[in-house]
Amino acid sequence: MARLLAFDDVHQAFGDEDVLRGISVGMDRTDVEVVIGPSGSGKSTLLRCVNRLTEFDAGDIRLDGESVTAMDVDALRRRVGMVFQGFNLFAHRTARGNVTLGLTEVRDIPRGEARRIADENLARVGLSAQADSYPAELSGGQKQRVGIARALAMEPELLLFDEPTSALDPELIGEVLEVMRGLAEEGMTMLVVSHEMGFARSVADTVTFLDDGVVAERGPPEQLFEHPERDRTREFLGELDT
């Protein structure tokens, strides 16, 4: 059986700058993979190549055995949800409205049913009371939870998280990580770019250290954090600790 997600020698350059230089990794259903690495190492680009917000130059990415470049891009994105660093909520729609848009327009679910599904997913992220609030009326942590509910409601096979807590005040990070931890326990397949080592350590099945456009080291968190094989990994983790 094909892996849910497989990178095969993926390359991507922006102008003269090679951002991804041959990435080949894979993950299965219910896996939680956390990608770490210094800024500029290509983590976000790697994520964006999966749902083709960035079109990669060479190599292949397969979703359940099928090359993403061969798929209809909208159909692909229906199957792969994404949560953004900057939330990117629709400012003119309530929390519920943010969730229903994809349901009514992409999944063609009737309005009433869409509301029900939206409320269900808002409850999942602990925001039942905020369904009628507009983004500007929510805290950062609440906004990101709406972002997660919006992605969840589409019933994706895979969820991408692009530094979901980097824009949050420290005291708001916990509530978002808590939701993500819950999703992992429910068996959601998640590819997470994050600087939250604690989260990676306790939730991830696999941690990938990306450095300068290549996978520098990859393994289960206990191995990668406790006994890194490469000097570069040690160095990076050391910088984080201090």
């Binding site: 994105r77 953004f84 990117n88 400012a91 994809g102 327009e105 009326e137 919006r150």
Partner: protein, 247 residues
């Protein structure tokens, strides 16, 4: 000291001829509404194309916009009237709204003026919308795309509703400009409000009433502008996106 030596007889002259001004007002309102509508229908897509369009289509829209904005409106109206083979729809009957006597206007002149004022307005409205669209964070569009909306759907459901709200102040401006520029339509013989006022004080009986007539006409323009802007203010408040600051 009597600063404004306005005379009762001249006001009486304005009073007995009020219906002539009302006929002009009718044409002014017709031209303004028609032009703004055309300007919106052509200007909104125009603004969207300037932001999202590619290649030749965008170049054409931009080029036409620059041309329309750079040409004096009187030139446009004359060009549209004489340069476009309009269907001969003859005279268009108007009025009959009692007690306003019915009257006729030249149909071709109405078409040409509405087209000229409307397309020129479209060129300006497209810039208002372009700015409004640009002001909306790119990430929202990306988020909409990432749940599977096509680009067109994403623009329609996420960008357009927000851009429209942000366009209202610019649209108020545009309304005021189009309203006043309708007076240029007399170049092709359309007797709108200002022309009617002009007709009044260039007839021998009205020659001493210049100031009274111009004040009356100005007052009518002022009331129109004031009421419309107030209405648009209300629309803006009604559809304002909560900012969270008040709650």
């Amino acid at each position: 000291m009597d600063i404004l030596p306005l005379q009762a007889g001249d006001w009486a002259f304005v009073g007995t001829n009020w219906w002539i001004l009302m006929q002009g007002l009718y044409v002014t309102v017709l031209l303004t509404v028609g032009s703004l509508l055309l300007g919106f229908l052509a200007g909104f897509p125009g603004g969207a194309i300037e932001v999202y369009g590619r290649g030749p289509l965008r170049s054409v829209v931009r080029g036409v916009g620059v041309l329309l904005r750079g040409t004096p409106i009187v030139v446009l109206i004359v060009l549209f009237f004489f340069g476009v083979p309009w269907p001969d729809i003859g005279a268009v009957p108007l009025g009959g709204l009692l007690p306003l006597p019915a009257f006729e206007i030249n149909g071709q002149a109405l078409l040409a003026s509405t087209a000229a004022l409307g397309l020129r307005s479209a060129a300006y409205q497209s810039q208002v919308f372009r700015g409004a669209i640009r002001s909306i964070d790119e990430g929202q569009l990306e988020a909409a795309r990432s749940v599977g909306l096509s680009k067109l759907e994403a623009v329609r459901h996420v960008v357009v509703p927000q851009a429209l709200r942000r366009s209202i102040p610019g649209f108020q401006n545009e309304f005021t400009i189009v309203l006043k520029d309708t007076s240029i339509a007399f170049a092709v013989g359309l007797a709108e409000l200002l022309t009617r006022g002009f007709e009044l004080f260039t007839q021998p009986a009205g020659q001493t009433a210049v100031v009274e007539i111009i004040l009356t006409v100005s007052a009518i323009y002022f009331v129109l502008t004031f009421l419309t802007n107030r209405t648009l203010d209300r629309v803006e408040n009604r559809f304002a996106i909560p900012t969270g600051e008040s709650s």
